[in-house]
């Protein structure tokens, strides 16, 4: 039932708005709205009950194992939320004077310093509001760098074929062409193909390391040297930073610019699809181009630096300073972990992934890169099961939901057929991993004995499989009401 169907003309949640309708004295009739929008007319209890019940139709980290590869669905500490919502922080206006901003700005300055330290970069801007905006900012800085040198012939950004779809899309938004580089069967970038692709037209390369294949790019030193020798710059997509946090720093690998997904590695909430935060870090030569605002400290006071103090900036990416409340949550998380805790993130996410991969292989499933170490995530291919039993990775995924576990990422990366990208994260206990293996084994048995059980899954959720084709062909994007 939709909220609109609870609606009755004249019903209101009286406590929520001013008691009277003040006259719109200064607004001439011609500017006024003539017909009220049809919003719900419900009581406070009806709204609370409706949305509480909707929440119960979701899987979430707080309620289920959520091994969604490349998304780092780890526990989001509750303190990060409650402290970021303290009065004084949650009600600070973005344009408040410095006299009423030192608490917030000091936290942001410290976060910049923490991110510099864990990434090994020379300077950091917290402005980007999600990973994809971080990518945009990073590539825009690469372009600004080449443009400032009069190097206008560099029109191409290289992207491995295993990359996240945002990489080529971000390159195009910066006016570049994206060119794909193949990956070897070992999971490493094909260096010969890279050599052939590099040239005076190369602006840079976008790499995720560990890659989306769940393995560490072993020749990163060589790649960095080759790209730099060709005059290009290296972009680090921080989607998988969780795997190496505190152990390896992108700056030390030779990257010139990176973004960090705070909603992954720094445990800020995913919120049903956001908000995220995608701070960018750069080496010295790209520092002038960082997006504004930046937070500066002169030993006495903290203050924001904008276009005025940073004339070479690529500019601003939002009306104010990005997703400040998310940045605060990441800051609180980072302070609770401390330096030692950062390294533990890499250690235990890697331990969990390698353990789970080993258990899956022992249970007869096929690892896509069995000879490689797993990083914080790994891929299995269900191609043998699909061939022998006629059940697809999608069927396994949907049946997992019946077993009260969120499915791993399916059919990504595109290179591996019938794949699951599995990321257990460091905050899951051993028994959750064991339960996952058990469920997968059981589903395989079901596929052997009663395949319709798997192919028709899920059975125990609010809905069964949905008709996506109908959703796209007969577009129903808003409620039309009973009388329309």
């Amino acid at each position: 039932m939709l909220i609109f169907e609870h609606s009755r003309p004249g019903r209101r949640a009286q406590a929520q708005a001013p008691a009277d309708q003040a006259p719109l004295e200064g607004i001439p009739e011609a500017f006024r709205r003539r017909k009220r929008p049809r919003l719900p007319e419900v009581s406070e209890l009806q709204a609370v009950r409706h949305y509480t019940r909707l929440s119960q139709k979701n899987f979430s980290i707080d309620t289920q194992f959520y091994p969604l590869g490349s998304c780092t669905m780890k526990y989001n500490p509750r303190a990060c939320n409650s402290l970021a919502m303290l009065p004084g922080l949650v009600d600070r206006h973005p344009l408040a004077p410095e006299s009423h901003s030192q608490g917030f700005l000091s936290a942001m300055y410290d976060l910049q310093e923490i991110l510099k330290s864990v990434t090994g970069m020379a300077a950091v801007s917290l402005a980007p509001m999600a990973g994809a905006q971080g990518e945009f900012a990073g590539v825009a800085m690469i372009r600004a760098y080449h443009d400032a040198r009069g190097d206008h012939e560099r029109r191409e950004i290289l992207v491995p074929d295993a990359a996240h779809g945002t990489n080529p899309a971000s390159a195009v938004m910066c006016g570049y062409q994206a060119r794909e580089i193949p990956t070897l069967p070992s999971g490493d970038v094909d260096l010969e193909a890279l050599e052939a692709a590099l040239g005076p037209q190369t602006a840079g390369i976008m790499l995720t390391n560990p890659s989306t294949l769940g393995v560490f790019e072993r020749h990163i030193d060589t790649i960095a040297r080759m790209v730099h020798e060709a005059g290009g710059l290296l972009y680090y997509d921080g989607a998988n930073l969780n795997a190496i946090l505190g152990r390896v720093r992108p700056g030390d690998m030779g990257f010139d610019v990176i973004h960090v997904n705070l909603h992954k590695t720094f445990s800020t909430p995913h919120g049903g699809g956001g908000p995220g935060a995608g701070p960018v870090g750069v080496s010295e030569r790209l520092a002038p181009y960082l997006p504004v605002p930046l937070v500066d400290y002169d030993g006495h006071d903290y203050r924001l630096l904008t276009e005025r103090e940073r004339p070479d900036t690529i500019g601003r990416l939002s009306a104010f300073g990005g997703n400040a409340g998310i940045l605060l949550r990441a800051y609180i998380y980072a302070r609770m972990l401390g330096a030692e805790g950062m390294k533990r993130v890499a250690d235990f996410s890697t331990l969990n992934a390698n353990y789970l991969m080993k258990r899956m292989v022992e249970a007869g499933f096929t690892a896509a890169y069995p000879e490689r170490r797993a990083t914080h995530e790994f891929i299995i291919t269900l191609k043998p099961e699909a061939k022998a039993l006629g059940v697809s990775a999608m069927d396994f995924a949907k049946r997992l939901l019946d077993y009260d576990m969120h499915a791993p990422t399916t059919y990504f990366p595109l290179l591996v057929p019938e794949c699951f990208l599995i990321e257990p994260t460091e905050t899951e206990a051993k028994e959750a991993l064991d339960a996952f293996v058990e469920a997968m084994v059981k589903i395989r048995e079901e596929a052997e004995q009663a395949p319709e059980k798997v192919k028709g899954a899920p059975w125990n959720l609010p809905v069964r499989r949905l008709d996506d084709v109908r959703a796209a062909r007969q577009l129903d994007l808003k409620w039309q009401g009973e009388n329309r």
Binding site: I27, V42, G88, M129, G131, G273, T427
Partner: protein, 468 residues
């Protein structure tokens, strides 16, 4: 170990299963030279009690000001239920609803949101959010350039009365795609976009016209004329509006003869706390004919295998995870949680509640302007155009200095315009929402009175010296 559940024994068992002797061994594919040593600059771990004390201290430092600043972020009351429900773990810790069957809560909520936002804007379709108002406008500009098949140009008309940070953000995001933003001046008397200046562009090829409502000065733009001008000259009309104001102002879908083509803006006034500028959310609505050019997630209603209604992500062929370099935008993660809050907020307030809030804001601003202009004849509204809940005042003193003095008395007196508009050097943008009380307004007036008195004394002293 904070947030890590492993016991010593489990670690041993797990390493044994893997077949290695230590966790270090799991990193043996990483070249030795790349291993990091210490992380200077991170510091030691804090317990929950310690971090609580630290954050309370930071919060205390920033507390106490009575806010009369608007300029794109507004201090509204948010019903308690909004964030109590939005921060339920099932909403707070879910992700993008790729597994539709396990995400019907989020998906249905987003469908309800799309309906409410389309209603509020009087537009045909809405997406499920973008980052914020400024970046949503940038996406709207890119979308308009793609969607306007009649125009061959990549030029877009942008009024100078639009929020300077919005203009800046749009510039950052679209310039690398060869899109040119052409500025339209404002009328020095009314504060509205100058229609005569607009007319000089008639006959030139532009892809779109951006129309803010209210504009950055709080002034209401002649939206009917602007929309019709755009359509008459082959441009798409892009509205960028305050969604709360649309509860009482004519919505973009009804502007002019045909309504605008795209309406976007910042959803902050619908349930997002000020929170130092974010997270808020960008909204975008459009005519149905342009839906395939729209960026961002879109939710559709469909049926399941048993014919039961359900909700799913749809039109994904527009998006980066399918189309990669040919996607309508690179956006992936959006501002889902803020949309969750906004949906609950709109459901609780309803059309009537939102209109009351809007009315109270308007009345409070008028009361504030009345009090402040009564203090001194040299304090006066700078523009004559009608306003919603913000207004530009001309002061007889240096604005930054006045603001500093007011802040020392915990009055956050508004936003100085001189920084972005040299022509408005002595001008202050003030805002009063429904949360300001008569007592708050009185405090502002008294403190400003005191600043004025100090100035008069100063002036008298100077004159006295001249007399000597």
């Amino acid at each position: 170990m904070p947030f890590i559940p492993h016991t010593e024994e489990e670690i041993r068992e797990m390493l044994e299963t893997i077949g290695v002797s230590s966790i270090d061994d799991l990193f043996d594919e990483i070249p030795e030279s790349l291993r990091a040593n210490t992380l200077e600059g991170v510091g030691p771990a804090l317990s929950e009690m310690e971090i609580t004390r630290l954050m309370q201290e930071k919060a205390r430092q920033d507390s106490g000001g009575i806010c009369f600043i608007g300029a794109g972020a507004y201090d509204h009351h948010v019903p308690a239920a909004v964030w109590q429900i939005a921060t339920r773990g099932e909403f707070y810790t879910a992700y993008t609803p790729y597994q539709a069957e396990a995400s019907q809560g989020t998906l249905q909520l987003l469908y309800e949101y799309q309906t409410m936002m389309a209603e509020l804007m009087a537009m045909e379709v809405s997406n499920a959010s973008l980052y914020d108002g400024a970046s949503a406008l940038a996406e709207a500009v890119l979308m308009a350039v793609r969607a306007n098949r009649k125009s061959k140009s990549k030029r877009v008309l942008v009024p100078r009365s639009l929020h300077p940070a919005y203009r800046g953000t749009v510039h950052t995001i679209v310039r690398n795609q060869g899109i040119e933003l052409v500025e339209l001046p404002f009328d020095d008397t009314t504060g509205q976009t100058d229609l005569d200046a607009l007319e000089t562009h008639a006959g030139s090829d532009f892809a779109a016209l951006v129309i803010p409502q209210p504009n950055f000065f709080g002034v209401l733009e002649p939206v009917d004329q602007l929309t019709d001008w755009a359509h008459r000259n082959g441009l798409l009309a892009i509205a960028v509006v305050n969604p709360l104001a649309m509860a009482v102002l004519q919505p973009p879908g009804e502007w002019g003869e045909k309504g605008v083509d795209i309406a976007c803006g910042d959803g902050q006034p619908l349930g997002a706390p000020l929170s130092s500028g974010g997270p808020y959310f960008g909204f975008m609505t459009c005519r149905k004919q342009h839906v395939r050019q729209m960026p961002g997630r879109i939710i559709g209603r469909t049926v399941d295998l048993d014919g039961k209604p359900g909700f799913a992500l749809t039109l994904q062929a527009r998006e980066q995870h399918i189309r990669r370099s040919k996607a309508t935008s690179n956006i992936c993660t959006n501002q889902g949680l803020m949309v969750t809050a906004a949906t609950i907020h709109m459901a609780l307030l309803g059309a009537d509640g939102l209109a009351r809030v809007a009315g109270a804001c308007h009345a409070n601003l008028n009361a504030l302007v009345g009090k402040l202009t009564a203090l001194d004849e040299e304090i006066a509204p700078r523009f004559s155009g009608p306003v919603f809940h913000e207004r530009v005042l001309r002061l007889p003193m240096e604005v930054p200095q006045v603001l500093r003095t007011l802040a020392a008395h915990n009055i956050l007196g508004g936003h100085h315009l001189g920084g972005d508009y040299p022509e408005l050097e002595n001008c202050l943008l003030v805002c009063a929402t429904e949360t300001r009380t008569p007592d708050d307004l009185e405090k502002y007036a008294q403190n400003l009175q005191r600043v004025l008195a100090t100035r008069r004394q100063g002036a008298c002293a100077t004159m006295a010296r001249i007399d000597l």
